[in-house]
């Protein structure tokens, strides 16, 4: 147990991320199911309006920050060092720090569900309730007097630190820890997409940090950054938030695209079609992703020039995305396809993401977006790209890499049940939302009139959502039952081409007995141009030094939620105590002898 608390091993940290993120995924899913139960019929009376606000806020916040990003991080952690031929990441303790901060931030945010009594609130839950993008000035002390928004802005600041730290770590790892011969254009596509994602993280997160700090000052210290009464402009919040928020959605999708770019070639027995183009498209998407943010604000009175500029850039970004889709299709075309669960999810990703992308393109036009924005049409779009895209992609990764991570194969039979139930469920859940949205059903309403004519669509959506819930439980069961299986997965069950498949499942603590020298993009395959890499020796030629664990990353991490609790209770001594803990942790960390 202690070894898990002090671990600096990227593989263990990856598993910690996985289980923690999956737990939050289930919580976010539960929030979704309650929402859907409430909306199954018009004038539902299941939950109050306030509770409903908390549910959709926490569903969004949890899924984005506590489930999707960390599930991707689970793979960054476990797989990237293996794919580049390294023994660990560049900064193992910083890596552990990121995990602990994530866990503590997630716990802090969710503690709000039961913290009501501590704040003299009339109810148990004071969970954030102003939407996952917290628009000003709804978030002002005037309109959100309780601690709900404070939990949100403090929790997100904590989580931001985790993401930033990981961002720096993976940028350096991918650039500087590659095995000999692993040139940039020989990197597996998942590693490339991760690198691009981390650049987005380190540039976008500072912006939301500033936005959250300004909001914090408004709420705690009486400034007027977003308050018209003091000359402030609520629109500034929207700009700052979406300057982060748009790159954030690419942070959410690029890793999944990377996974798909790994899974398709393996199960088509063909290299990724147009590898270089796929890589460059990812880079272009990241650049352009910075230029489109105000397409989230077409209804806020930007003016015709801004509207046109952002509509233009948004349409442009469809191009590199489309290019990738054609390359994926090109990979499958003419391949020897093995319909494993991982492949099914990857193909599902392509189909669902196309649908989500198409609704996205309709959003790009400012005039049409004026009808669509703030309706269920947007909810359809985001769920097609984030569930149909990111989550299906992540599931593909889970089925693909589970044997490598745990030494056990997931059941293909249960996997197929999971896949089909998920595909059918998600389409039942989200497709009708295009229609109910266009018919005028606004998002974030806790009930609706029967006269709106969307009751039928909502009923279907709810059925679909519960199907997805069942599917997820099937998957959870699939995961759990592997614990009772022997650890007997082969090193390369899928006959993959990349380095992670060259070592045992699960890998030994040092990963590679000998760091391989890489000669091409597909080291384990026989192709027209080259033969496979020679197998690595079974035992290391000399003892390999593996760094030990450390308590300091966790200790440092603990200081952050202590500071947040102090802020939340407006009690400075606790804030200072938290700062002291963090500083002590940093000094302990800096002076600890830690040999890589």
């Amino acid at each position: 147990m202690k070894s898990w608390l002090t671990t600096t091993d990227h593989k263990r940290i990856g598993l910690l991320y996985f289980w923690t993120a999956f737990a939050f995924f289930l919580i976010g899913g539960l929030e979704a199911l309650i929402i859907r139960a409430q909306l199954v019929r018009p004038e539902g009376i299941g939950v109050s309006a306030e509770t409903f606000n908390q549910l959709f806020t926490m569903h969004g916040t949890t899924m984005v920050f506590l489930a999707l990003m960390p599930l991707s991080a689970a793979f960054f952690n476990f797989i990237i060092p293996l794919q580049i031929g390294a023994r660990d990441v560049a900064f193992p303790r910083l890596n552990a720090f990121s995990y602990w901060v994530f866990l503590l931030g997630g716990l802090f945010l969710n503690a709000s569900f039961v913290a009501g009594p501590l704040f003299g609130a009339g109810q148990l839950s004071v969970a954030p309730d102003a939407g996952w993008f917290g628009y000003a000035n709804l978030t002002s002390r005037q309109f959100s007097p309780g601690p709900n928004v404070d939990f949100w802005l403090l929790g997100l600041q904590i989580l931001g630190i985790a993401s930033l730290a990981a961002g720096f770590n993976f940028v350096v790892t991918i650039l500087n820890m590659r095995a000999p011969g692993m040139r940039m254009l020989r990197l597996p596509p998942f590693t490339w997409m991760t690198l691009i994602t981390q650049f987005l993280v380190i540039t976008a997160f500072p912006v939301i940090t500033v936005a959250l700090v300004l909001l914090m000052f408004d709420r705690f210290f009486g400034t007027h950054f977003f308050l018209p009464s003091g000359g402030g402009d609520p629109i500034l919040w929207q700009h700052l938030f979406w300057m982060f928020g748009h790159p954030e959605v690419y942070i959410l999708i690029l890793p999944a695209m990377g996974i798909v770019s790994e899974v398709l070639p393996t199960f088509s027995r063909k290299p990724l079609f147009g590898y270089t183009v796929v890589v460059y498209s990812g880079v272009v998407i990241a650049f352009l992703g910075w230029s489109v943010w105000a397409h989230h604000m077409f209804a806020s009175g930007l003016g015709p020039i801004a509207d046109s500029v952002f509509a233009g850039t948004t349409m442009l970004i469809a191009i590199p995305t489309g290019v990738k889709i054609f390359n994926w299709i090109g990979t499958l075309w003419g391949g020897q396809i093995r319909f494993t669960t991982a492949l099914l999810f990857a193909v599902g990703f392509i189909a669902m993401f196309i649908i989500g992308g198409l609704s996205g393109v309709t959003h790009a036009s400012a005039p049409t977006d004026l009808q669509q924005t703030d309706t269920y049409y947007v909810v359809a779009h985001i769920h097609y790209v984030l569930f149909g895209g990111t989550i299906l992609g992540l599931f593909a990764g889970m089925y693909y890499w589970w044997p490598k991570m745990t030494g056990r194969l997931l059941s293909e039979r249960l996997g197929k049940v999971h896949f089909w139930l998920t595909l059918i469920g998600m389409n039942l859940a989200f497709f009708p939302m295009h229609l109910s949205g266009l018919l005028g059903m606004p998002r974030r309403i806790y009930t609706y009139s029967p006269d709106l004519g969307v009751a039928g669509f909502n009923l279907v959506s709810t059925i679909g959502a519960f199907l997805v819930g069942i599917a997820t439980l099937v998957f959870f069961w699939n995961l759990l039952r592997t614990r009772w299986q022997p650890v007997n997965a082969p090193a390369n069950p899928w006959n993959g081409a990349t380095l992670e498949w060259a070592i045992p499942s699960p890998p030994p603590v040092y990963n590679f007995t000998v760091i391989p020298t890489v000669a091409n993009r597909l080291p384990l395959w026989q192709t027209e141009r080259h033969g496979p890499m020679a197998p690595l020796p079974e035992r290391p030629p000399a003892p390999i030094h593996v760094p030990g664990g450390s308590w300091w990353p966790m200790i440092t991490a603990v200081g952050l939620p202590i500071m947040a609790v102090g802020a939340l209770s407006h009690f400075l001594p606790v804030v200072l105590a938290g700062a002291v803990v963090a500083i002590v942790g940093i000094y302990g960390w800096a002076f600890e002898p830690f040999e890589m």
């Binding site: 650039l175 700009h239 930007l302 003016g303 801004a306």
Partner: protein
């Protein structure tokens, strides 16, 4: 692990740069106070401070002599930060002028 770079600035260079930085600061303050320069105040100050910025980054932070990659790591986000400032200024002020036609 030697990336001290091809050339290396000497103590003399550092002192000279410091002198230039001080001089530029004095010129900046001068431009601020001399009424005749009011019209060109903004561009002149922006250019002068950009020069100071560049000198510190290139010489004190050694970027001129180091691997070009560090310049990319810094320069990319720097340009992005500048773009953020410029675009927000345009959004909050640029279109107003255009709409009112003044």
């Amino acid at each position: 692990m030697s990336e001290q770079g091809q050339a290396h600035a000497t103590t003399g260079t550092y002192l000279r740069i410091a002198a230039i930085l001080v001089m530029i600061t004095l010129i900046e303050v001068g431009v601020f106070y001399v009424p005749a320069f009011q019209a060109v105040l903004v561009p002149v100050l922006l250019v002068l401070s950009a020069v100071k910025f560049t000198l510190v980054v290139m010489f004190y932070m050694h970027l001129k002599f180091d691997n070009k990659f560090f310049a990319f790591l810094f320069g990319g986000p720097l340009l992005l930060g500048l773009a953020v400032v410029v675009s927000l200024l345009f959004i909050f002020y640029g279109t107003v002028r255009l709409r009112t036609g003044s």
